[in-house]
């Protein structure tokens, strides 16, 4: 990490229960911002607070277990079944086996998967199924916070549409505090309750989807122009 400053002058507050989208192009610092939250990256200066409590006061392992983490490459454990993948953190946390199994089934249903998939291995699943398992795994120990790093970026458009829709339904039920990284404006407008636009390691502006479309900010309007007309239809109108 020598030398380059990835983020600077960054001040952002995420409200409990909202879906905050970090939008920006590759290299704008979105992922770094996300990794600061679960301490996969440590800040050289500045402070991160969760529920008002400074980061350093948390044990890093406990902190991460309380934060669900979903990445584009998913990172399912290839040598574990779906059930073991989802049940790993509960197991480490010492849940009894029957409670873990019940939780696995509950989560599979929640993300729209058949319960029978529990005994499969990741390589036996489709891309969309794998990503759903990734989400289920992140939710396993019932974290309040969910970090998602371009989770649907590698999916085909139809499957992506499907999982986005499911995500909205899920979030309507669960009200997690979600920080969601994407470079896709359409996805940001659809899923986000607020959009934080980033450029070159700086936070440009934070707007709700409606404001974003009308924004006169040069970066925001450049984004809107690049994605063209028809965005309006896909936009999250704020009511959860």
């Amino acid at each position: 990490m020598a030398g380059t400053q990835v983020l600077s002058g960054f001040n952002l507050q995420v409200t409990s229960g909202e879906t905050l989208v970090l939008l920006g192009r590759s290299g704008s610092g979105k992922t770094t911002t996300l990794k600061l939250i679960n301490r996969l990256v440590s800040p050289t200066s500045g402070e991160i607070r969760i529920d008002g409590k400074p980061h350093q006061q948390f044990d890093v392992i406990r902190l991460r277990r309380g934060i669900g983490y979903v990445i584009q490459e998913i990172g399912l454990f290839p040598h574990f079944t779906v059930a073991r993948n989802i049940g790993l953190v509960p197991k480490i946390e010492g849940w009894p086996e029957d409670r873990i199994q019940a939780r696995v089934q509950e989560l599979l249903q929640l993300v729209g998967l058949e319960g029978t998939l529990a005994s499969r291995y990741p390589h036996q699943l489709s891309g969309g199924q794998r990503q759903r398992v990734g989400v289920a795994r992140a939710l396993a120990a019932n974290p309040e916070i969910l970090l998602m790093d371009e989770p649907f970026g590698a999916l085909d458009p139809l499957t992506r549409d499907e999982v986005q829709r499911e995500f909205l339904l899920l979030q309507r039920q669960l009200h997690k505090t979600v920080v969601f990284v994407t470079h896709d404006l359409q996805e940001a407008l659809r899923l986000g309750s607020r959009i934080a636009l980033m450029e070159a390691g700086k936070l440009v502006t934070v707007l709700d989807p409606q404001e974003f479309l009308k924004s006169t900010d040069p970066w925001a309007s450049a984004y809107v122009r690049a994605f063209g007309p028809g965005l309006e239809a896909a936009t999250n109108r704020g009511t959860q």
Binding site: L40, R65, G66, P78
Partner: protein, 210 residues
């Protein structure tokens, strides 16, 4: 050629020497795993020290077998018993393939899997024992297999310093210019090498992650 008859006639000695050989190879391979696997894990995690460690193991590998046995002979405690010395030399030779395969096995684990594991709050040892090692095990065993097969061959030289093993027959046969005696050592050694190859290979496939 009546090698078969010679082996049959001397079967007790063949069996004894084969067992001795197996002991030399078994103990040294085990010790090399005991040292090499942790060392391989260490350098996979602290990449900065990987170069010097691998280079060191490499240098050991370049010392000719007979010379290494000779070098170690005057060392006090070691030189006192030939089998000790042979086991140490064989262990040193077995280190490189084991360290290298462990290093490569661990480094070869999909970084996304590691990141997901860290992000989920696995501790370093949970990550190692539940994720990295199970995923690297077949690569690690491929190194153990190479080490074992090389050791079977190298251990024949141990007879030159009186450590026993099937090399006894080979050296004796060379001195007597009698091919039967040479083969009485070489054939069982070849079979041992094949068995080691097959045995560890079988284990490797059984433990292969899906």
């Amino acid at each position: 050629m009546n090698v078969g008859r010679f082996i049959l006639q001397n079967h007790t000695q063949v069996v004894d020497l084969t067992l001795e050989h197996l002991w030399l190879v078994g103990v040294s391979t085990f010790l090399a795993m005991l040292i090499g696997i942790p060392l391989g894990i260490l350098i996979a995690h602290r990449n900065r020290v990987s170069k010097p460690v691998l280079a060191g193991a490499n240098i050991i590998q370049t010392i000719p077998g007979l010379a290494l046995f000779g070098f170690l002979l005057p060392v006090p405690w070691l030189g006192a018993r030939a089998d000790r010395l042979a086991i140490l030399a064989l262990t040193l030779y077995a280190l490189l393939p084991i360290i290298r395969s462990t290093y490569e096995g661990i480094r070869g684990v999909d970084p996304a899997v590691i990141e997901a594991g860290k992000g989920m709050g696995l501790t370093e040892s949970q990550l190692l024992f539940q994720v990295e090692l199970p995923l690297a095990v077949s690569v690690i065993l491929s190194g153990v297999r190479v080490a074992a097969v090389i050791s079977v061959g190298l251990a024949t030289i141990a007879a030159a310093i009186g450590a026993g093993g099937l090399g006894e027959f080979i050296f004796r046969g060379l001195a007597m210019v009698d091919n039967r005696v040479i083969l009485a050592g070489a054939i069982p050694a070849a079979i041992l090498a094949l068995l080691a190859d097959f045995g560890v290979g079988w284990l490797e496939r059984r433990l292969q992650p899906r």
